[in-house]
Every structure is written in structure tokens, then in C-alpha cells.
Symmetry: C2
Subunit: 146 residues, 2 copies
């Protein structure tokens, strides 16, 4: 019943109260393997009768985003989605079919960014890279059905 949840840990560590609504939202987010939209999260909270108001839900999302344990990504469709992840700089690899996301370390990206900075004369402070494709699992399924 009380599985370890890094999201709750992060809240605790940052000195926030571990209230029931926050625990509920944290649990909900933790249960997603991939990305989720605000709408989905709202619906899930309603379905499970968590008794979390919309405002609190968004407040929790904002808080967790600041702590770096949740990130907002933008899908190719233009939709916004959120994804739980570790609070360190990295990028997201999103499966366009099943929504599963993988964290990606900086394999050569930092270098490319540095080169862009050199060529453009801009001082680059931050960047965001999102990658879309098919995870191994969905590739296999595609090959079978083809």
C-alpha cells in the first residue's frame, strides 16, 4: 500500500507538507509509465475519488515541475503532456504509439549545442530536445503486422 515514491520523497526533502492531496497526486503521477495530459490526470483523480480539486492538482503539478521531478513536454500533435522524471538535465524519447518515454543522457547533444553557439554568436543558456519515434516494443509489433 505504501510503495516507495520518489515524488513524495522530493516533496518531503524540499520541506513541503505531505498532505493527503499531494500524496494522492504524487501516487497518481507515479503510476503512469509514460506521459499524461492534464485532462487525463484530472479524470483519473475524479475516477478514483481522490477528492483533489483542480486548483490543487495544478498547484501540485507546478510544484513538482519546479522540483524537477515532473517535466512538461510538447507532443508532435501540439498537445501538452507531463512526464515524471529525475531532476537532472536530460531529454525525452517519446514513443508515438504507446506513449512510453525514456530518459536520454546527453550523447553528443551538448557538443552540438556548443557548436551552434560558436557559429551563431548567441550565448546559449538552455535548450530542449524532444525525440519521437517507436520504442522497441512497438517496432516489434509493427514488424509482425506488416
Amino acid at each position: 500500500m505504501d510503495e516507495p515514491n520518489p515524488i513524495i520523497d522530493a516533496l518531503d526533502l524540499a520541506g513541503y507538507q505531505l498532505t493527503a492531496p499531494r500524496r494522492a497526486v504524487a501516487g497518481l503521477i507515479h503510476s503512469y509509465g509514460g506521459h499524461f495530459t492534464a485532462l487525463e490526470l484530472e479524470a483519473a483523480a475524479r475516477d478514483r475519488r481522490l477528492g483533489v480539486s483542480r486548483a490543487t492538482l495544478f498547484r501540485a503539478l507546478e510544484l513538482l515541475t519546479e522540483l524537477g521531478v515532473v517535466e512538461r513536454i510538447d507532443l508532435t500533435t501540439g498537445e501538452h503532456a507531463y512526464v515524471a522524471c529525475a531532476p537532472a538535465h536530460h531529454h525525452h524519447l517519446v514513443c508515438s504509439r504507446c506513449g512510453r518515454t525514456a530518459d536520454v543522457e546527453d550523447s553528443g547533444v551538448a557538443e552540438a549545442v556548443a557548436q551552434i553557439a560558436r557559429r551563431s554568436g548567441y550565448r546559449i543558456d538552455s535548450h530542449r530536445l524532444e525525440l519521437f519515434g517507436l520504442c522497441r516494443h512497438c517496432q516489434a509489433k509493427t514488424n509482425l503486422s506488416a
Copy 2:
């Protein structure tokens, strides 16, 4: 009065009618050096009394996005913005101070992406890279005032 406008050309080339509202929106977008939000575009259309309805404005944006001459980017603040650009794969370098954007060719990014694909086992179909920082101009200003 009739400056060349690549946006209008793109509409023409794709076989769309060059109606007054479309010309108006195209002219408006063309006049921006950097990114603009939906709200700004709306306000600009209203101020100049272009007589373009909201629906048409968004329809035009959608159309131009499909044609690749306008792209939607996501600022660090979480805001959506649009930017006029050439219909080829490239990335955007956005000045966080003045909003000026520069197009960036793929300096080493493709390679990094290929490496990520190899390591992760995902089949990567597309990616999006957005870079934020200060343009030369704004760097100079910062140095002076510092």
C-alpha cells in the same frame, strides 16, 4: 505596397486562394522579426483593422504550419509562440530577451540523434530542438549595463 512575401508565395504554390484575409495574415506574420503569440497576432489584426476573424486567423496559422512556413515553438516560460520560417528541417535559437529568433542548421545534431537511436533501440522518426539564450545584440547591451 506589394513587397515580396514568401508566405503568400507558399499559399499560392500550394494552390490555395489568395484571399484578402489570407494576404492580411501573411503580411502581418511576415512583419514579425521574431516569434509572436496568438494573442499578439489577434491584437495586431484588430489594431490595423484588417477585418480578419479569430477563426480565420487560426485557420491561416494552421494552414501555414502545414505548409511549413510557420512553426509553433514553446518558450521556456511555457507559452506557445509562432515564428515564420523556411520549410525545411531546422531548429530555432530564441533570444530570451528580445525574442529575435535565428534558424539553425543541423550542426552535429543529426549525429547526436543517431547515436541516441543506437543506444536506446528506439526508431527515431523526428525530433525537435529549441535553444534559448541571448543574441549578440542583447549580449552587448548586457555587458554595457553591467
